[in-house]
């Protein structure tokens, strides 16, 4: 594993043995003075630190003792996220790019089990990974939208994500969930790295009736 300083309060661990989310959990369980949070991403983990306290040498030694073990056998939580594909502003464009019919795209997307690789970019935004080659290769918009509607389900490259709130964004929107998937004010963040997500197709009527409910 490598450890690289990446800012006044951020170090990045790369070339991790095992899953970044397992490593992040293990790192936090070590209670190293000065390490405030270990945040997993696709291939790396960010160590957010109190710079004046961070014991770089001790952490480098500690990293040598990690061999990919998980701290606990974590129960795999799977979130079922209702998704109204009719609300996907780029659905037809994405179908064109992937050369798939609407029905086929929806069927593949809704039957795919996504793994939460990271939460970031904005509060509660899950970065979702899958093994669905049929849905990969969609480029970002050439010019990002200034306002992506809250709840938008988006894809790009091999990634899928859900915008928890109105935000600028450059990923292509293929659907929208009526649920609030995070609530900053109440500190409710039900989706965590390591969880799974599955999308459940819903109609516009169901979208309207579930609008604003908080994911639990």
């Amino acid at each position: 594993m490598t450890l690289e300083k990446s800012g006044g309060s951020l170090w990045i661990v790369r070339e991790i043995a095992g899953s970044p989310s397992d490593f992040a959990e293990w790192m936090e369980s070590q209670n190293v003075l000065g390490v405030e949070a270990a945040v997993p991403c696709y291939e790396s983990v960010g160590l957010w630190v109190e710079d004046s306290l961070f014991p770089e040498h001790e952490v480098r030694q500690l990293l040598k003792t990690y061999s990919g073990q998980a701290v606990n056998e974590r129960a795999q939580k799977t979130h079922e996220i209702p998704c109204c594909y009719e609300e996907g502003l780029d659905l037809d464009a994405v179908c064109g790019i992937l050369e798939l019919s609407r029905d086929t795209l929806i069927e593949i997307h809704a039957s795919t089990l996504y793994r939460v690789a990271a939460v970031g970019f904005m509060p509660g935004f899950p970065y979702l990974q899958s093994n669905a080659p049929e849905l990969s290769g969609v480029p970002r918009l050439e010019s990002p939208r200034i306002q992506v509607p809250a709840g938008s389900v988006a894809i790009t490259g091999t990634q899928c994500g859900i915008y928890p709130n109105i935000s600028p964004g450059g990923w292509r929107l293929i659907g929208r969930t009526p649920l609030a998937i995070a609530d900053v004010q109440t500190r409710s963040f039900p989706i965590s790295p390591g969880d799974n997500v599955r999308f459940v197709p819903i109609s516009r009527e169901e979208f309207a009736s579930q609008s604003g409910k908080l994911l639990t």
Binding site: E4, K5, S6, G7, G8, S9, L10, I12, E36, A37, A38, V39, C41, Y42, E43, S44, V45, G46, W48, D51, A118, V119, G120, F121, M122, P123, G124, F125, Y127, G157, Q159, P164, N165, I166, S167, A182, V184, Q185, R187, F189
Partner: protein, 263 residues
Amino acid sequence: MSLFVTRVVGLASVQGLPSLKLVRYGVPPGGAVLQTVLQRLNRCLGNSNSAAAIEVAQGWIELIAESSLLIAVSGSPATLKVNGAEVPGDRLVEVEVGSRIEFGMVRGGNFALLGIRGGLATPPITTPIGSGERLFVAGLIDTEPSPIGEHLPQVEEALMAQIAGYWDHYRNIFVEQPVTFVIESMSRKGIRLSGPLVEVDMLMTSEPISPGTIQAAGPGNYLVIGPDGPTMGGYFKFGYLHKKSIEALFNYPLNSPIRVLFS
């Protein structure tokens, strides 16, 4: 003890020191842009280092004191008025209950702070869009041009930065001499810079980023992450600014040329 906000123009927010408690969920660390200035202000007021103050940028705030207060200001030069009379900003000021306080019109920089003895209570966490709703406030400050005729200060010293490890093959270009960038726009989320034309791979895998991270967002376009900026990003990470240089950068006027010395 409280202050009643009667008017905000531009961006005003209550800011303490950054918090990393919810960064794992993508909540940016937030905090005053000028952290060392906040700490100095707090020392003047006899507060703890982390006590929150009002941060004003390119605008002003009007308040009514709902109790007697001891206040002080710091940061870039700004106007402080109590009951309509301008008050020097280099001393502690006693304010009586019912007094009207006006603070802002920051000059020669972008951010100024108004603190009170005892500090201000802060909302527990920042909001999805960072500064916009964190507090009582108004608008963002993106894309406001500098007023025509304003004297732009000459940059005396280069800002200090570290180039990212995987940019080693560019090291010869960037570490020999200071690199000049121009500040295009600025908000608490970050700063957009124009700079050297370098071809970058736009398909970097997203990874954690923090305040001060410099991203190459395309040929000649660079972003410096601010306190309310994203916690992950997929633009190529070019390097990061040293802590003091982050504060300095946020206090340069828009359109300023800045020099950055990479190591």
